[in-house]
């Protein structure tokens, strides 16, 4: 097919939008992106287990590698580029100071198993992070080691199991709102519990009556997100905590949304027993294309004795790591070494930057921005639950009814407009849910432009401009991808093509 001079190019690239092959397709045997000296001649001590045959790794030079990843990066959307509305994920600005701090050789080039007296500064830093988190949550104990939010959930729920086991209590039923994040039920089961869903009321919060009905002697705990995944504060949280405690159950709070209340409300004052904190959400450590994160868990006195190993203690001789528990109460170890140190450094830099005086402004601005979006959109779109919201604005797809445009289509059209879409179809209790979290690091100008664009899109959908949605995205590096085919016939790694039949020499010469 002849390329169209208006829409096509010969190379397949288009201006600054450049295609990029797989590393494996750029292989040249013998080429290398590093220069390593020849190894000294020694007698092998590999015991005859020398690796045989080629591994299959491609050979590229440094210039190609730099270009490869630069080009790949240019196919991504990121906070650094624009509004990343992905609700529940708190895509706030990641300060560059944090990146500088974590790379200080005195922190980056530290082996986790160095003698304790050579890492006093590192342990002190962990202790400082612990102090900030305990103070901000009003909780007496913290476990720093969990690797992310879901790992923090495991940590908390295991502590609850340990506490139950310790008192010989066999209760296993865990109440989980239907609106909960998928990690909550998955965690409960991974800790040997069973999950009992509780419905939401018309306001998007735990249905208090239904909750009370579920209570019983076999209830081990609730896993409740607060502010919840609808972006709402659980008004009855103090009553819920009291009711649980009355029956000897525990309150696990999913603190993924702590960013909405940090500096203004201490979860410890609400009666919870433990809560994880996503340092990669509330405390601005980068999301890095999917991780790493960190999920420290704060604990009430009731659970503090069961916290996992290791933890830092401080005495006359300095800082120490407790890696084995004397009393046997700790539920054990959950993560290699001492946790996500790099995230502790970043989070500390962030907390110190905002200070005790500034974090309330952080949460306040996050909530303000979300409500500004809510106010700006609620007449064109349909708000899922009435009233103001916390840090994220939730819409359902009622406004799209009859338009032939779905939440998915709407999201893809947002891509064309230069935005990262909101979280879609979550929470599950809202039809065609659209969960928009702007965060506090968005300027008003940015919000205004976003609101204008969303309103224009909503109007376009209602006015029957379907193409804009069904064809979307039109301007992204790829258009809609076939996910069904990907799952039906999974291709999960590159494989060399079968070598083509070499043409007979005579044919080639023709």
């Amino acid at each position: 097919m002849k390329p169209d001079p208006i829409t096509d190019t010969f190379s397949g690239d288009r201006g600054l939008r450049l295609e990029e092959q797989l590393l494996f397709e750029q292989d040249r045997p013998g080429r290398c992106g590093v220069d390593l000296p020849a190894p000294p001649k020694v007698k092998s001590r590999l015991g005859g287990l020398e690796r045989k045959g080629p591994i299959g790794l491609p050979g590229l030079s440094e210039p190609q590698i730099v270009r490869h990843y630069t080009r790949l990066s240019q196919k991504n959307y990121a906070i650094d580029m624009g509004l990343y509305t992905l609700g529940s994920c708190t895509m706030k600005h990641n300060p560059r100071l944090n990146e500088r701090a974590v790379r200080m050789p005195g922190l980056a080039d530290l082996h986790p198993l160095q003698p304790i007296r050579t890492v006093q500064g590192a342990l002190e830093l962990m202790e400082q992070v612990a102090h900030w988190l305990k103070t901000l949550t009003g909780m007496p104990a913290v476990a720093l080691s969990p690797g992310a939010g879901a790992h923090g959930e495991l940590c908390g729920m295991m502590a609850i199991r340990a506490a139950l086991d310790d008192r010989g209590d066999k209760r296993r039923r865990v109440l989980v709102p239907e609106s909960a994040h998928g990690t909550n039920p998955a965690t409960a089961v991974a800790c040997g519990f069973t999950v009992d869903p509780i419905p939401a009321d018309l306001s998007g919060r735990v249905d208090l009556a239904a909750f009370r009905e579920k209570l019983g002697p076999d209830v081990a705990a609730i896993m409740l997100t607060n502010p919840n995944t609808c972006g709402l504060f659980e008004r009855d949280i103090v009553e819920i905590a009291a009711a649980l405690h009355k029956i000897g159950a525990y309150f696990y709070c999913d603190g993924a949304n702590f960013n909405a209340i940090v500096g203004r409300v201490r979860p410890g004052d609400l009666g919870i027993d433990c809560m994880h904190i996503n340092l990669h959400k509330t405390f601005s450590t980068p999301h890095g294309g999917g991780g790493p994160g960190a999920g420290p868990v704060v604990f009430s006195d009731k659970l503090a004795t069961y916290v996992p190993l290791p933890f830092v203690v401080h005495d006359a001789e300095g800082f120490r790591l407790v890696e084995q528990a004397d009393d046997g109460k700790s539920f054990g170890r959950l993560k290699g070494f001492h946790g996500q140190m790099g995230m502790f450094v970043r989070a500390l830099a962030y907390m110190m930057s905002h200070g005790g005086d500034g974090l309330a402004q952080v949460s306040g601005d996050a909530v303000l921005n979300a409500n500004y979006i809510l106010a700006g959109l609620k007449d064109e779109m349909t708000q899922a639950f009435p009233g103001t919201c916390m840090h994220e604005a939730l819409f359902d797809d009622t406004f799209l009814k009859g338009t032939g445009v779905t939440t998915l289509d709407f999201a893809k059209a947002m891509i064309d407009e230069g935005y990262h879409p909101m979280t879609m179809y979550f929470p599950l209790i809202v039809h065609g849910a659209m969960l928009i979290e702007p965060t506090e690091t968005e300027s008003r100008d940015s919000l205004d432009r976003f609101i204008d664009t969303m309103r224009a899109l909503a109007r376009a959908a209602k006015q029957g401009d379907k193409t804009r949605f069904l064809e979307a995205p039109r301007f992204a590096p790829r258009r809609r991808l076939d996910e069904t085919a990907a799952a039906r016939n999974p291709v999960l790694r590159w494989k060399p093509a079968a070598p083509p039949n070499p043409a007979p020499a005579s044919a080639a010469a023709e």
């Binding site: 797989l22 080429r31 001590r45 590999l46 287990l49 790794l57 491609p58 730099v66 630069t70 990066s73 991504n76 990121a78 580029m81 922190l107 530290l110 082996h111 198993l113 003698p115 890492v119 006093q120 500064g121 103070t135 690797g147 879901a150 495991l154 295991m158 998928g182 998955a186 965690t187 040997g192 409300v265 004052d269 980068p286 999301h287 999917g290 790493p292 993560k335 290699g336 070494f337 001492h338 110190m352 200070g355 005790g356 500034g358 402004q361 306040g364 601005d365 909530v367 500004y372 809510l374 891509i415 979550f426 506090e440 690091t441 995205p473 790829r478 258009r479 991808l481 999974p490 999960l492």
Partner: protein
């Protein structure tokens, strides 16, 4: 407030448009008595210079590995990471994006994860690999849980050569899932017999190669024994660089391979964040934990990548998920894949050869010291020596000479006098011969 774009005037205008009088009013749902009325007892906000100074002051209280001669391993290795790696992972498009839920605008992340999966499969000798776990230790526990799902059995044999952290975490999970662990005792000599522990109830055997004490072993017999009894063989690799020199677990019959990926592309960083590698035979892919990226086409017929087989994951399957993992180690995986791409076939093999040679040179030097015995026959870049007295005290004395001289086994087994004199030492391409000479000389003097 350098990170906050709203001004006082903005806030007032916005409140007016929302129709509330103050930000506080937006917190009406919070029980009154739970609202903080005065600032918490924490330091006030600070500028960059002040924060940087405070953190630098903490950093200065540490002895960093670059200021000493470092012979530490034990699951975290000090390698030279090319400057391009850190440069590239800091690009905002990688650093400040998230899980590629919207594939059309996250092809960059998806493609590197697909390449990462391929690399991990290749170096481990396995069919498929996922897009990373938190670290090698948690990956080991996930592997044991996966094996119980695959085999529908609940007993697991744990090698005494498995990194104690890996074993402890596995035990933590096992306890709550009623998985019974048959934990072999610490295996400093590398001669444990695991085959005897396998029976028809065994879901899996988990073994580390090279072991925590540095022993390299041929796992073919073990894998045959496992398969014989319908059990899976899980092989953990603590030092991924070893795979450039050593026969991969996949070639020795492993069913699942987990590994700590830190040692490629990632700094020591006092233990984290690291990344867990997780690879398996193709037939078990639907029982794997973690994310998977797959190839597909867009509506214009152009190749692209998407997250796939999500029905294994918590956000779709909730309580029936293969794992609760959500956020993983994406950026560490990026560092890993870039470093490995720079190395390529030739560099990876040479890096491994340099490491092995360094360790052999070190073993020769240390083994020549009176009273010191090298316990290993076969090893990669790490081995165990027996000293004539407790290793912990020796290590402390070495620090005075600016040598981080290995890990005393007593750090992990403080209550086992039989292990008190054992020291686990590592050499990598970053150790010079001068450093090794200094280490040997110092050790000779101290003993």
């Amino acid at each position: 407030m350098r990170y906050l774009p709203l001004t006082g005037a903005d806030r007032n205008d916005m409140l007016a448009q929302i129709g509330v009088s103050s930000i506080e009013a937006l917190y009406d749902d919070v029980p009154k008595r739970a609202r903080l009325t005065k600032p918490l007892d924490l330091p006030d906000h600070a500028g960059e210079l002040e924060v940087e100074r405070a953190i630098a002051a903490l950093a200065a209280k540490n002895l960093n590995a670059g200021q000493a001669a470092c012979f530490l391993g034990g699951g975290a290795y000090r390698h030279h990471v090319p400057a391009a790696v850190d440069h590239l992972i800091q690009r905002g498009e990688f650093l400040t994006s998230y899980t590629p839920y919207q594939p059309e605008i996250t092809q960059g992340t998806l493609q590197y994860l697909f390449e990462f999966q391929t690399q991990v499969a290749l170096i481990t000798g396995m069919d498929v690999a996922n897009a990373s776990m938190y670290d090698g230790a948690t990956a080991a526990a996930e592997a044991v849980m996966m094996a119980t799902r695959v085999t529908r059995r609940t007993r697991a044999v744990v090698s005494g050569g498995l990194h104690p952290h890996y074993a402890e975490i596995t035990a933590t999970h096992a306890r709550f899932l009623e998985i019974v662990l048959d934990q072999a005792p610490p295996d400093p000599e590398g001669d444990e017999d695991l085959i005897a522990r396998i029976d028809g109830e065994t879901a899996c055997v988990i073994v580390q190669n090279p072991s925590f004490f540095g022993h390299l072993r041929d796992l073919r017999k073990l894998s045959a024994a496992c398969h014989d009894k319908g059990a899976l063989l899980i092989v953990a690799v603590g030092e991924t660089v070893s795979l450039g020199a050593v026969e991969p677990p996949g070639a020795m019959g492993a069913d699942i391979v987990v590994a700590e990926g830190q040692s490629i592309g990632n700094a020591l960083g006092f233990g984290g964040p690291y990344l867990g590698l997780f690879a398996a035979r193709e037939k078990y892919v639907r029982q794997m934990p973690g994310r998977l990226v797959g190839e597909t086409l867009d509506v214009d017929g152009r190749r692209g990548w998407v997250l796939t087989l999500a029905t294994r994951e918590q956000h779709i399957r909730r309580e029936k998920a293969t794992s609760n993992i959500c956020t993983n180690s994406g950026l560490c995986a990026l560092a890993f894949t870039i470093h490995l791409a720079l190395l390529g076939e030739e560099g990876f093999r040479r890096l491994a050869a340099l490491n092995h040679a360094a360790a052999v040179q070190l073993a020769e030097r240390l083994g020549a010291i009176k009273g010191v015995t090298v316990l290993n026959d076969a090893f990669f870049n790490e081995f165990t020596i027996r000293l004539p007295r407790p290793a912990a005290g020796v290590v402390d004395r070495l620090v005075e000479r600016n040598i981080l001289g290995g890990i005393p086994a007593s750090r992990f087994w403080p209550d086992q006098p039989a292990l008190a004199n054992l020291l686990i030492v590592t050499a990598t391409e970053t150790n010079t011969v001068a450093e090794m000479d200094a280490f040997a000389a110092a050790l000779g003097e101290i003993l």
